[in-house]
Amino acid sequence: MNRFAALIDRLGYEPGRNAKIRLLVDYFATTPDPDRGYALAAMAGTLDFGQAKPALLRSLISERTDPTLFALSYDYVGDLSETIALMWPASNTQSAQRELGLGEVVALLSNTKKADIPALLANLLDGLDETGRWAMLKLITGGLRIGISSRLAKTALAQGADIEVDAIEQVWHGLTPPYEALFLWLEGKAPAPLSGNPAPFRPVMLSHAIEDSDFVSLNSADFVAEWKWDGIRVQATAGTDATGKTVTKLYSRAGEDISDAFPDIIDALMGFDGAIDGELLVVRDGKVESFNALQQRLNRKKVTPKLMAEYPAAICVYDLLYADGEDWRDKPFTERRERLEQLVAQLKSPRIELSPVFDIPSWEVLAALRASPEGKVTPQEAEAIEGCMIKRRDSPYLAGRPKGLWFKWKRDPFIVDAVLMYARRGHGKRSSFYSDFTFGVWRDGENGPELVPVGKAYFGFTDQELAEIDRFVRKHTVNRFGPVREIVHEPDLGLVFEVAFEGIGPSTRHRSGLAMRFPRISRLRWDKPPREADRIETLTALSAGGRKKS
């Protein structure tokens, strides 16, 4: 367990991809089965513990520490697992116990009755050092976010065995922890395991944000443009299993299987065999709806016919990865596109539409189009357009974010000036700063103008700016509610944020009746008195479909 703990502790701090891979290669090469397999599962997100809720951890620690000291410590550290790992009283038996491997810990946790879990956890915590306790608590609460994607872990495996990472992806979906068959194969001791999944996910290709200098160095004739829709990136894959049955799957861009939430899409793919890449959208009566509509369909385990009728999903398809029993990813974009057009035509489904492609006579023409898509599409559809995608005609489909092939050119975000109202200590990287901010805009109240909260932002600022805001927060606190501080927000005293966001829609969960999408602090307006901040009417108008340019 301590080896795994040391690994993820170090990985959590390591920013460099190559260095991360090196740490992983070293770990996989020197750690025995099944520990390394469970470590791989922990990183790939295939290890599932549903047993330890934060409440259980809180009760374990409250039996062992003074509540005031715990509260002060938690407030300081900002992370529950870490606070408990640090405060857990040292045990006299720690050195006497034999160190348990990760595999043994996993086995103990899965084979123990729910009622006995607290005692087991306490026992395990007694036997570990601080890093070990932290890693175990993160593992069992599902909070293990260490910046390692399943893809990176597989890349390390591939590098260690000197093979292509795609070869691992091909067999991955048929495997389960602790992946002993996989390691045997990688070490040359057994043949490749069979892929149990006839419709596997293939890693997606991502784009770079285009920069001003790119317009100078790139020739627009080498590229085509598409709309960048404000939906979610998906991959639809179909294949035939050993019994001859067709299996169709819908994956998120990270490879998460979301088929169950979209039976309408799965139905529409009837008869299809291959893998396509596209944007999942809500399309009603032939019109693309904004992201707010799509949100009604996301993160649902079950979907009712009523919901599907109200928010009909569709895929706007833009690429082809696999078809006719063949991998198409090495072929140029234009060739893939041609075959894609034929395949989509055969499907004859309003749920599967082609993403329109435009030639780019010059970057100026594209700039005009991007600024007002209203010329090409309906105003409502324009709402669902985030900008343009620019793709090289001859680009192969490469996993990851290759340079120089695909670019995104976003529309300018919405901008509003809002006043800081409440601050809360952040989590993770920023837990010793006040870094979660609630901001508001003016409205007419019973006793004249008042601020109403309209959103929260956690990022957008530099570390330097964060330190400045943090100082302001500490100096201008007027009230405390547990971990939340109310910050002075009067017409002439307070801090104004320029908030950028991607969209806004009605919401019943917020006092203002509005919810922003992806809000972030784009500038600190120390120069602006709160009285000059925006009013709620501005936001209501944006929500109704108008647009304010930055």
Binding site: Y13, G16, R22, L23, D66, L72, S73, K429, S432
Partner: protein, 344 residues
């Protein structure tokens, strides 16, 4: 005599009215007693300074010979009488020359401990427990989440990293008075004899430590050395240098930071540290508790740091305790503030 008649917190620092002296004053005063050389405790511009020889030497190195009007060397354990008040200096285990100051009059004894730690440090004399009526303690790491591991284990982490990344320079951020020299001494104790490189800001004080007998091995200034040819080398620098342009001239360095704050992951991430080394020159929570108990003091005054938790704990075991709410001392512990204005 009540404790408040002997020592009171004032905006300039702890003041002893009968002797008319201040301990670690943050403003220029006529007569100052100084516990140790860190710049938030030892400032320039006083009329007279009474401190250990090492503290006086280091103040002169930092501020120049004219840092005070008069200087008087305090010998450890030897009382000095000022207007009927007896002052004596005793090792605090914090940095070279660091001392606690015991203040006694009419049978009342108050100990101002300055900054201190209990863990062994090869570069300075160990902390000496002083029985007293009132114990004045810091609380830099005054929360139960702070338990410093043995420094040797942290240095082992550093040496393992060099073995895994032998082509990368390892930049170790460490405060230039005390921490840097302790880290070097610990590296030597771990059996590593490689040349260690020093950022210009720590050359003088490190040379002083070596002169005073710390075993620091072969050291070379970074200035004039080729930054591209530092594969697998250890380079000590002030923490601020880890993030500034100075560090960018190294090819893909591993950035390390030796500090008690590295216990908290968020703190380490905030500073962009890749290899946090939990090495502190302040007492951790168990050491604070141990020390408070061993002094047998019935009253505890808490100066700077996380005073809420420590005051709460003292009260929970039946001790009278209060925060002094002193300003001017870094509650960041080893984050030494910039040298005060007006000093060279």
């Amino acid at each position: 005599m009540r404790p408040a008649d002997l020592l009171i917190p004032t905006p300039a620092g702890l003041y002893c009215p009968p002797a008319d002296v201040f301990i670690d004053p943050v403003r220029p005063v006529a007569r100052a007693l100084i516990t140790h050389g860190h710049s938030d405790h030892a400032r320039a511009g006083h009329g007279a300074v009474l401190a250990t020889r090492e503290t006086l030497d280091m103040m002169a190195i930092r501020y120049g010979e004219g840092f005070t009007g008069e200087r008087q060397t305090a010998k450890l354990g030897l009382p000095v009488d000022i207007n009927g008040v007896r002052f004596s200096f005793h090792p605090a285990g914090h940095v070279l020359g660091s001392a606690q100051i015991a203040v006694e009059a009419n049978g009342l004894r108050i100990v101002a401990s300055g900054d201190y730690k209990r863990a062994l440090d090869p570069t300075c004399a160990p902390f000496e427990v002083l029985r007293c009526d009132v114990f004045i303690t810091e609380a830099t790491f005054g929360l139960p989440v702070f338990t410093h591991p043995e420094a040797g284990l942290e240095v082992a982490k550093l040496l393992r990293s060099i073995a895994l990344f032998p082509e990368r320079a390892h930049l170790v951020g460490a405060y230039s008075l005390g921490k840097a020299q302790r880290v070097i001494a610990e590296i030597r104790q771990a059996g590593c004899d490689e040349t260690i490189y020093l950022h210009g800001a720590m050359e003088k004080l490190t040379a002083y430590y070596a002169e005073q007998g710390s075993k620091l091995g072969v050291l070379r200034p970074m200035a004039g050395s080729d930054r591209q040819a530092m594969q697998g080398a250890i380079i000590l620098c002030p923490p601020s240098a880890i993030q500034d342009v100075w560090s960018r001239k190294f090819a893909d360095p591993v950035t390390c930071f030796a500090s008690g704050w590295m216990r908290i992951r968020a703190r380490a991430r905030q500073r962009g540290v890749e290899l946090p080394l939990i090495v502190s020159d302040h007492a951790d929570w168990p050491e604070l508790q141990q020390t408070i108990r061993e002094t047998e003091a019935s009253e505890i005054w808490v100066t700077h740091g996380q005073e809420d938790a420590l005051v709460h704990w003292c009260q929970s075991i039946g001790l009278a305790a209060r925060p002094l709410n002193m300003v001017g001392y870094s509650d960041d512990g080893d984050a030494e503030p910039e040298a005060p204005k007006g000093t060279p």
